[in-house]
């Protein structure tokens, strides 16, 4: 179980698989580079991302408001008449929206062009795992702060991640924990922290939820609602029993008790495997991954190295069998088309229609990954949106993809060579003979491989079931 593959097997196909899963895919020259540097170095390039410098600055607006600023703003709002107040509120909402759009562009760019693809892939994983929506927060700064917490702990320590998220201001608002107090404990976070974040349904009792809610009281926000504070006066000091242990438990005690359950490693290790492999793990595999996590004192990085090196990860049922998430589809398509991302608002509407609007997960359970990404509706959307990514769309400020640059002169001079290059660039799942014949017939009816023909052929090729997989 979890034995590394033989480094001699390392080739273009396996390197492409790693680039797709640990990152967001990429063009043939990147895959060739990974194939050439060898297995160990390729794995290390992704997993040891803390050794690669990351010069991306934070967005200029991403700063907490000081207490004075907050006081001033609140006073101005209080002093305003109802009409002015609604104008003030509208202006603030629109500024927040603008910042959020900027944040989306900032993050997508990190995915598409950043120096640490696995860190961004994991940040996306955590956003899906601790799914928090702007819908309720209406605060771009808090979304950014949480995104940075995901990034900072992306391959870090599981215990630490859970602690930081429990006191993350966005999470405190999202699951109402900041409104909870000893007289009226709110169960929302208490339930989800066990059900969705750390143990899974069936690994705790309803009583544990009720008692955890009491233990978690004390967590609060300052008056600006941007910073976590602990308020001992609202903490329930009575005895509680959580996961079999009784005492005057507080939030840190509860998180420790959760982490002491072997299920907490199994739960997150299994979920990470599913995320990267695209198929659920066997029981034995889950146990083996959880064991790796335990061995490294809950540190993800060594486990991820084992995962990405393992024979299981490169097995036939894993290779090329994952349905691309909309984010993977969008970022990956831009990368293989050698094009820049569309502007943030366009990306936002594309991801919305494909069912994965970042910063707006459908609920606290996150998105439903896997084949469910594809419905009749979403498949057609993918086929129609890819046309815009290739041909461009001035109305949505999408430039055409520089398709001619993707192929050599020799490839553009010969239709068979062109189709072979097209397949190599875009497909890990081979097209069928009948599909190749369709594309060949399409080309045969055209005189030359001019730009329009190259564009249309790529569009058709990417409008296939095979392209939806990675």
């Amino acid at each position: 179980m979890l034995e590394p593959i033989n480094p001699k097997q390392w080739d273009y196909r396996l390197a492409a698989h790693l680039l797709n899963r640990a990152g967001f895919g990429g063009p043939p020259d990147e895959i060739e580079r990974l194939a050439k540097i060898g297995f160990d170095k390729a794995i290390s390039y992704f997993v040891d991302f803390d050794r690669v410098s990351d010069p991306t600055p934070a967005p200029a607006w991403a700063k907490a408001e000081s207490e004075e600023q907050w006081e001033q703003r609140s006073a101005a709002r209080r002093a305003a008449d109802p009409k002015q107040r609604s104008q003030i509120d509208a202006m603030r909402r629109s500024q927040e929206r603008k910042n959020l759009s900027d944040l989306l562009g900032w993050w997508l760019k990190r995915m598409a062009n950043g120096s640490r693809p696995l860190q961004e892939k994991l940040t996306l994983f955590w956003h899906d795992h601790f799914a928090t929506s702007y819908e309720k927060l209406e605060n771009a700064y808090l979304m950014w702060l949480q995104n940075e917490t995901f990034r900072r702990n992306a391959a870090g320590n599981w215990t630490r991640m859970l602690e930081e998220i429990t006191v993350d201001p966005a999470m405190l608002v999202w699951l109402d924990q900041h409104t909870s107090n000893k007289r009226h404990p709110n169960e929302n976070y208490a339930r989800e922290v066990m059900e969705l974040f750390s143990l899974g349904e069936g690994n705790y009792t309803e009583r544990d939820v009720v008692e955890t809610a009491r233990a978690l009281t004390g967590l609060a926000l300052d008056k600006t609602r941007q910073n976590y504070v602990y308020k001992p006066e609202i903490h329930d000091e009575g005895a509680k029993t959580v996961l079999g242990k009784t005492g005057n438990l507080d939030w840190q005690d509860v998180l420790k008790l959760i982490q002491l359950q072997p299920q907490s490693q199994r739960f997150i290790a299994g979920k990470l495997w599913t995320w990267f492999a695209g198929v659920p793990p066997s029981r034995e595999l889950t146990d083996a991954l959880a064991e790796e996590l335990r061995r490294s004192a809950n540190h993800f990085q060594p486990m991820l190295k084992v995962l990405f090196s393992s024979q299981e990860f490169y097995s036939p049922e894993v290779l090329a069998a994952q349905v691309k998430s909309p984010v993977q589809w969008l970022v990956g398509t831009c990368r293989v088309l050698g094009r820049e991302l569309p502007p943030p608002d366009t990306c936002d509407s594309m991801l919305t229609s494909l069912g994965q609007r970042l910063f707006f997960p459908p609920d606290v359970n996150g998105w439903v990954d896997g084949p469910d990404w594809i419905t009749t509706n979403n498949l057609l959307d993918r086929y129609n949106l890819v046309e815009r990514l290739i041909l461009g769309d001035p109305g949505r400020k999408i430039t055409p993809a520089p398709v001619a640059k993707l192929f050599t002169r020799a490839e553009l001079a010969d239709k068979a060579a062109f189709l072979a290059a097209l397949e190599r660039r875009f497909f890990l799942v081979p097209l069928e003979d009948s599909q190749k014949k369709t594309l060949f017939d399409f080309l045969a009816a055209r005189r030359a491989l001019d730009d329009a023909t190259v564009q249309q052929t790529i569009r058709l090729a990417l409008s296939t079931p095979q392209y939806q997989l990675t």
């Binding site: 109402d176 009226h184 404990p185 339930r191 059900e195 349904e201 069998a321 079931p465």
Partner: protein, 428 residues
């Protein structure tokens, strides 16, 4: 752009494009077996086998856990006001159903249906060992499983499998981007449509007509070409191929039939309103669909419940009113049963944030041409001694309601679909 006008059933589609000789490549195994089944069961019997009298079910998910207690209010019950000193609704504001029960005032849209004997409130709906998780709760309702069993097919998917052999994939339409788990079944029938205007393969109008036609033709071929379903092929590729095929079978008729009809009622401009508006057009336009699925979210009212709940119920009541008025005007109301559901009700006692936490045992609405009674089931007791961990106890298993829909309305045996025999609730 030329709006495509040809309507094809799956059967015609398969025959003309796959077996008609125009296309010479191998027939994929799964299409082949589908076709064989079609041939033996339904081929050449005219249009696809419709349900009896062309009856239709519209399932309306109200997601997040609707507060049943504040939807239908026991306004003479002291326990109610004691448990809900802040958010309890006062008797005078309610739409009275009986001397003890009243509807939330925002549901005024439902008044004419109540008067007409076309709306039933099913009270005290739930199941044994209720689960307070949104996700598990929703899955239990979708799969109709026992609370301690995990099932990966939905009750409507099993209805399609059991009772709709030979039907088009459009036998079920969910107005959504994501497929509801209720639709999951072995035969994979049921499609998703978010906006019919975009429900087609678009070719840039820069090209001349001839080129556009060639591109369309190539797209069709590329997405039919699932040659052999190799045994070792990943399940995911086979799944996407089938969806690609369903798209082609359904695209033309989805567009044409949503355009052939004009709505005759004014709907709220909400997501729910728009979904029901579309469904009314498909029904009147002659889609062979038996089950429609629409949803409305936002019922997870942990905080500051009153204004949110008011807004949601108003949207719900007004949308249902518009939908039923529309169907009546279009002459199709007699074919339609609409049923709402929510994954759970809420805790009897309000919380510290002027809201309510997850609970159990709740209620649902059924709208049909003629219902047995405007109140079905019993209103659960609110006496603290009668509660289970602060939650209402159910007296109608939700699967009895499903059995009532299947047997009483769709006139098909419910046992093979629900996996157990439930006493059908007499709805209609």
């Amino acid at each position: 752009m030329n709006p495509p006008t040809t309507l094809k059933t799956r059967r015609e589609f398969l025959r003309t494009t796959l077996l008609g000789g125009a296309v010479s490549w191998t027939v994929p195994a799964f299409i082949d077996s589908t076709f064989t089944a079609l041939n033996s069961e339904a081929a050449d019997k005219g249009p696809q086998a419709a349900s009896r009298d062309g009856r239709i079910v519209v399932l309306l998910q109200i997601a997040g856990g609707n507060d049943g207690l504040n939807t239908i209010v026991p306004f003479t019950n002291d326990h109610y006001y004691k448990a809900r000193p802040t958010i309890g609704l006062q008797a005078r504001s309610l739409i009275k159903l009986t001397r003890e029960l009243g509807l939330h005032p925002s549901l005024a849209g439902l008044r004419s249906l109540i008067v007409g004997g076309q709306l039933a409130v099913v009270q005290g709906v739930g199941y044994p060992n209720p689960n307070r998780s949104h996700f598990r709760g929703t899955d239990i309702w979708a799969t109709a499983s026992d609370a301690d069993k995990f099932v990966n097919t939905g009750w409507l998917g099993r209805y399609f499998d059991n009772a709709c052999a030979g039907a088009d994939p459009t036998v079920g339409i969910a107005v959504s981007r994501q497929r509801p788990l209720s639709f999951a079944g072995k035969s994979g029938k049921g499609i998703n449509v978010d906006n019919p205007d975009n429900y087609r393969f678009m070719v840039s109008s820069k090209d001349d007509a001839g080129t556009m036609a060639t591109t369309q033709q190539s797209y069709r071929e590329l997405n039919q070409s699932s040659s052999t379903m190799a045994a070792d092929a990943a399940a995911s590729i086979n799944y996407v191929k089938r969806v690609a095929l369903d798209v082609q079978v359904s695209s033309d008729q989805i567009i044409a039939r949503s355009k052939s009809i004009e709505n005759k009622a004014k709907y709220p401009s909400s997501q729910l309103g728009n979904s029901l508006k579309l469904i009314a057009r498909w029904i009147a336009g002659g889609m062979p669909t038996r089950v429609y699925y629409a949803s409305q979210g936002g019922y997870d009212t942990h905080i500051n419940q009153p204004p949110a709940h008011e807004r949601l119920l108003k949207d719900l009541g007004d949308s249902i009113q518009a939908f039923t008025d529309d169907l009546k005007a279009l002459g199709h109301f007699n074919r339609v049963l609409l049923m709402t559901f929510s994954e759970f009700g809420r805790r009897v006692k309000e919380n510290a944030s002027t809201g309510t936490d997850h609970g159990a045992g709740s209620m649902l609405f059924v709208v049909a041409p003629k219902v047995k009674s405007s109140l079905l089931g019993k209103y659960p007791s609110l006496a603290p001694a009668d509660l289970h961990q602060g939650d209402l106890k159910y007296n109608v298993d939700f699967r009895q309601v499903y059995a009532g829909v299947l047997e009483g309305w769709l006139q098909t045996p419910s046992q093979p679909i629900l996996g157990q025999q439930f006493e059908p609730l007499a709805l209609v």
